[in-house]
Symmetry: D2
Subunit: 387 residues, 4 copies
């Protein structure tokens, strides 16, 4: 049987990238609620992300979103981040908030718009070169709302062409990470709707093109851990966008809606060697704290991942393999559930304290005065958000 | 067999209420695209709605949304509408865009917020008294995002109390119409998620409380025509919010996603007497023209409803009843499909011409110069939208 | 804070009814796999059910299904059950396996079939009178496969008539429990598809007509605990059919697919007083052990319910109410999750031992030799199943 | 504009393979209803399939299912079919109805079972060699019901190995067609759940391994025509299993649940060249006539496909391309819908008569006496079904 002491070494390797945009305001199409203390600048976002890392030791890097995080001097921004104990991570391109992209970006019927979208991604690679980021993440809002509106077949070819042009500009240690999404903001068809589509494009591009799996971007009932297992097997699981959902792309705190699903996903990540094995996948958050406070929301998120990774590492894989081989359905399931049901909270508190971290990061944050400070300081200016 | 000539009398009775907000900009949480010619005032919205009626003869009334359509003088607004050939219809209250409503309105744990939400609805009744509107429509965005966030049971009681207070202020010829919605903007629980919940509240209130069925507000796979049949049977189908969807509350043009579903719905409306029978339901649109032009989008919508009503009226109900009674599954289905597959477009063109309307309202609108006119005129000011 | 010691008194009240048919073979439309030791008679089913109770103390009664469990002498059967330490419980009628019911039972267009279906339920009441059962549970397979096949509106009226006739024959201490189901075996429409429909029929019948909520009978994404809260509020939650599902009506072991959902459901059951309060709901299993062994499958099921009831009872409702009232979204959620994440397995083992039960009922059963005994004894004859 | 006269040449090429098992009894896990006239032998099934072809001219070949259609002499069976005007088509293997396959076939943890499953498929290739069939279709029921029950990653590797062994035995003009399915009969994970998984296995095998798309085997809301377009683009769309569904794998008559979806699918098939172009996909039915008569059910099915192919061929692709290129969302959609709404029934009647077929095949069949004849003749013996 595996004990908590057996897994601490592996647990130490956990690192979760947080997105700069999580600290700004977000909402639904009906309303974006503002909140006191919301960052007004990229630096303030990074300061908040650094706070998450300081209290948990789990979030050493921050993902950027261009143009939301446009600055003049990325080297200076990287230094600023380093001074705060974190580094700049994945660069996310954005081809969905410009009027030109109303009917698509890399898949737009207008070649000028396709060119503009390619160029934006090339610009993002320039940012990566300045920040030292490894990953360019492309999520496309492209799609249509009405049957017949566009030629979905030709759009695949345009997509392949655009991606190839972008991929060609990556350096040898950079990756293109292609995200898929079932629907929204397009409501009839999406140009990269599923892992299969993302996979075939990445396979056509080459080894440094990999798939991003956002846990909220699937059809109802989809077995996500199967996709994880398959992509890891194919060597194409590049990264996760973690969040949770009850219905659609709800972007709730990871683990909040279905903790058992998060456990099953982490079991397959570990099983396939994508946690601390030969083919590591980047673990990122991508969530919207519409009604809860942002920094506490991020704290809860990284802690949820840590708790579930601990449970998954505790799985007695030898006993499980034996029961599986014997065809003992109920015994295998029980071994699996035993790991899930193990309460790791006390052990994790000790694990943190041994590493100079607060036993209860959430309580420590709330007691630290950081929240009160930013609420007092950040008055005036424009709060950061999705626009 | 029923012919088109047999149904023209019934077809004439078709009237579809259009929403003032359909003429303003709408979008997703990712982006709201603006478009030339978008109204900047309530009057401009009504003028656009009137254009839809002028070209189709199908849209004699306009629903208002408070506070989006706040004016100082509703009697004057009603006169303005009348001068344009339409009248003011349903008043929709809005308790989801004020910061106070972040955690709920009629179901908020804070009694002061509940009171404010009640008062807003009472104010809407004042508007109705001024405009002569019959229906107060209440759609609540209330709900929660996280399990445990609120006491969903107590919220039902608060909801019942608030609705009772509002209902008590209605005059004898006014109705409270309670809409339900499966999810969004709340992602864990919604306080009025299904027809059952709306029904039990309306039943508790009294005869003038009825259910609004928005065709996009159901779980995947829900048989909507069954709900129609049931609500009509119970005397509680107050109105429709028409739109269509592939995934969630996509708010696409009615009939665009699944025309056969619209046919089945209209068959049950007619079957139960809620079209031109003793218990008429109000037919309204509630859609978002995110990427298509607004007025043409509305034209297409009312025309789609008209086409499907015509097909549904053509159903040979006697032959159908005979096949159903005989248990002949395939014959009954064939009779049903025969009505759906009947191409009514040519007959409808004639029907329109006989009534002094353009045979092809869409072509006539596009040729009329109206669109070019508003695009030229409506420059400057703030375009209308959801805020 | 609530401790395990605080809840043992309430935990003792847990009683879960097991279905006689769980011990027979079941399967999918593709294949029913047989297994050694499967009962061949009603008595053998009851003996197996009694074994589940002997090892867990959780399953004191057995539900019957007529005609699957037809015997000549129900008084003798009740005595037999009593001798084995259990009693006979709910009687389930079956109007879906006779050729006459191909196009419906209580909703069939043929009055003779409707009459037959009513009579079968009246016969079931006779069985209840003999066994002393309180509840008649009606699940209807009625529905259609093709649009137009039947008049769904009239079928509601026939349903109401049939139910009224059955209800009239109940004695004062008997109940009619009406189950709803989203789909299957009918694939276009179901005559009792949702809680709303079941509720309106029960409300029309009277106080002793209540709703049965089968946890696998909902549309994807449905918030079941909301329905629980609503039905308890309305005084109409009669009973549960517990099982779990990933997709449709998968009938897996309760708690296996989404343990957190089971927790949320039990929290609302307790919250509303339907566990040990004034309006108790009957807790039953209704599952299919297609590939796992039957008795261990039932053991796992009742143990899963027990574990989740314990967690739900541990919820610190006072702290929760305070956080909810304060609008502290994350604090409220954390209090809620703390109860779910509490590992109650060791405490439950002690709880069992104090009551003379095995600490680990599953291990005790597997070591008991019972399974080997029935596999050796029950050779020949026809194994029990769904037909 | 395209007229019916323009498309008759292309329409003549339509050929739909019917499955032998459609003529036997089928049902749900709750009940299989028998019906008079059901075939008792493979020859009787072929005779019924031939009747479908005789009345429609649309169904020239019959798919076999092994072992349901095991005979001693396939050459003789092929001759029998030929004498009835049809030929033998796809051979479907079955590795889900033997007790050994309870926990999987090609993915079973037991190597002996995997071997047996491979051998069964090799035996099917022998049948193909005798019948002259081109396609071996593999649908796997493999999967698990409980998390942890099996190692889903290793099962992929076993699957790849087994498929490779089978593929190696195909002759140069034979194909392996791998079907995917979202769920059922397994309820937690399925080993080939989506097009992506089927695609990666087929891509690994080689050019003669292609994907089978069953229209009922997807998650709710899946855009099937997108998958069609993608697979055709990748050269991997091997065949269709046509049917329709409202909820899960309902196996209703194709086009019955959502005729517009069938239209959209056929538009993409034609668009990509998979109808009469360079990469034809096989069109097959795979349905269950649970409550309707079998032969009329098959007639309705092939007629539905024919009607929708006609509509799809009528699409004015030039005008559509122009509107799409112009970004005119509503105009493009209208052109698309115009084709769908065109009533082709009268033209198709003429088309049939010109080819010596009955104008109304359903009426002609019902008047022919064939049904009465088989009901009278086929008394005694065992009716064919899924077992």
């Amino acid at each position: 049987m595996t004990t908590f002491a057996d897994i601490t070494g592996r647990l130490e390797k956990l690192a979760i990238e947080v997105p700069s945009w999580a600290y700004g305001n977000s909402g639904t199409r009906f309303k974006v609620f503002g909140s006191p203390g919301t960052p007004r600048t990229v630096k303030e976002k990074i300061a908040d992300a650094a706070a998450v890392h300081r209290f948990t030791g789990l979030a050493p890097s921050v993902a950027l979103h261009i143009p939301w995080d446009l600055v003049d001097d990325y080297a200076a921004l990287a230094t600023y981040a380093g001074d705060h104990g974190v580094r700049l991570g994945t660069v996310n391109s954005n081809t969905f908030q410009d009027d030109d992209y109303k009917l698509g970006s890399l898949t737009n019927a207008d070649p000028a718009v396709r060119r503009k979208a390619v160029q934006h991604n090339l610009d993002c690679i320039e940012v990566m070169n300045a920040t030292g980021s490894r990953d360019l993440k492309i999520w496309l809002a492209d799609g249509t709302n009405y049957p017949g509106q566009a030629d979905i077949r030709t759009r695949q070819d345009w997509l392949a062409e655009g991606l190839a042009e972008i991929y060609a500009q990556l350096s040898d240690d950079q990756r293109l990470v292609l995200e898929y999404k079932f629907f929204e903001p397009a409501f009839y068809h999406t140009d990269v709707p599923d892992w299969g589509t993302s996979y075939v494009h990445c396979a056509a591009l080459g080894d440094r093109a990999v798939v991003c799996l956002d846990t909220g971007h699937h059809a109802p009932g989809t077995n996500i851990e199967f996709i994880v297992a398959q992509l890891v097997r194919l060597g194409k699981l590049g990264s996760f966008d973690f969040n949770s959902r009850f219905y659609a792309d709800d972007d709730l705190i990871v683990g909040a809606a279905d903790p058992f699903q998060l456990f099953r996903i982490m079991v397959e990540v570990i099983r396939g060697g994508a946690y601390d094995g030969p083919t590591p996948a980047a673990l990122m958050l991508d969530q919207c704290h519409n009604i809860e406070k942002k920094i506490p929301g991020q704290l809860r998120s990284v802690l949820n991942v840590q708790e579930m990774v601990a449970r998954a590492l505790l799985l007695d894989v030898d006993a499980l393999a034996q029961a599986q081989q014997a065809g003992d359905v109920l015994a295998a399931n029980q071994i699996y559930m035993d790991a899930f049901y193990t309460d790791v909270r006390r052990d994790l508190a000790g694990f943190r304290e041994e590493r100079g971290l607060p036993a209860d990061p959430m309580a420590a944050y709330l007691a630290s005065g950081y929240q009160e400070q930013i609420e007092a300081d950040r008055v005036g200016g424009t709060q950061a958000g999705w626009n």
